[in-house]
Symmetry: C2
Subunit: 111 residues, 2 copies
DNA sequence: TTCTTATTTGGCAATATTGCCAAATAAGAA
DNA sequence: TTCTTATTTGGCAATATTGCCAAATAAGAA
C-alpha cells in the first residue's frame, strides 16, 4: 500500500470514526429529521451538555454536520443525507448477524 | 432515549467501529474484489501478521466477513457488499469537505 | 513421529477516546 | 453596565484501541 493510498484510507477512517459512537449516531439520525440545538440534543441523549457539544464538534470536524447561530443558540443540521443509507446497511448487517445466530441455534437443536 | 434505543445505537456503533480503521477499510475493499488469505493481506498492508489476524478477528466478530479454512490457510471474504455503498458515501463526504475548503480559500483570495 | 508453514492468542506499552466538572466565551435582556 | 442563558474549551481520570513480540495452535509433509 503506497503512502497516497494510506492517506486515503486514513481520511476515510477519520470520517467513519466520527460516526462510531452511540450518541453521535443518535445525533445523526435526529438531525436528519430536523435541525436541533445543543440543549435539545442534550436533553434527548441525557448526558452532560459539554459532552454533547464535544460530540457535535467531532461531527462538525469530520464535515458531517453544519451549524448556524441564532442568538446564543446554535442549530446543527445534517450535511450528507447519504449517511442514512449507510446506517441502513449497518442495520442489515445486524439483521444478518441475528439470523446467523438463529440458524446456529436451530441447527444445534436439530442435531 | 430509552434503554432499548440505547442498545440499538450501541450495536450499530459496534459495527461501525469495526470499520473505523485504515487497515480494516483496506481489507474490506480488497475482500470485495476477491477472497484473500491472511498472509496475502499481511503482505499488502505491510504490518505484522498477528496485527492483520486481529483486524480480521474484529471484522469477523462484527459479522462483516466470513472465513473458510483450506489446509493451514484461512480465506476471508466480504459478507455484506452493501458496505461499499457506504464507503462511497464516505468518499462523497470527503469530496464535499475538499470542495468546502476550496471555497473558503477562494473567497478569502477575492476579499 | 518431527518439521514446516499459516494463523491465532496472550501480554504489554503506547496512544486515543470518553465524559465529567469547572471555567471561559458569546449574546441578548434588564 | 450586570445578569442570564447557551455553548465551548481545558483538564483530567477511566477506559478502549493499536501493534508489536513471543508463544500456542492447527494441519499437511517428510
Amino acid at each position: 500500500m503506497d503512502s497516497k493510498q494510506k492517506a486515503r484510507y486514513e481520511a476515510q477512517a477519520g470520517i467513519i470514526k466520527a460516526l462510531a459512537h452511540p450518541s453521535r449516531l443518535f445525533i445523526v439520525e435526529e438531525l436528519n429529521r430536523q435541525k436541533r440545538c445543543v440543549s435539545e440534543l442534550t436533553e434527548m441523549i441525557g448526558v452532560d451538555t459539554s459532552t454533547v457539544s464535544k460530540h457535535l464538534g467531532i461531527l462538525k470536524n469530520a464535515g458531517l454536520v453544519l451549524h448556524e447561530k441564532k442568538g446564543t443558540t446554535v442549530y446543527y443540521q445534517l450535511r450528507m443525507p447519504c449517511l442514512l443509507d449507510f446506517i441502513n446497511c449497518v442495520e442489515s448487517v445486524m439483521e444478518a448477524n441475528a439470523l446467523g445466530q438463529m440458524e446456529t441455534m436451530i441447527s444445534c437443536k436439530i442435531k
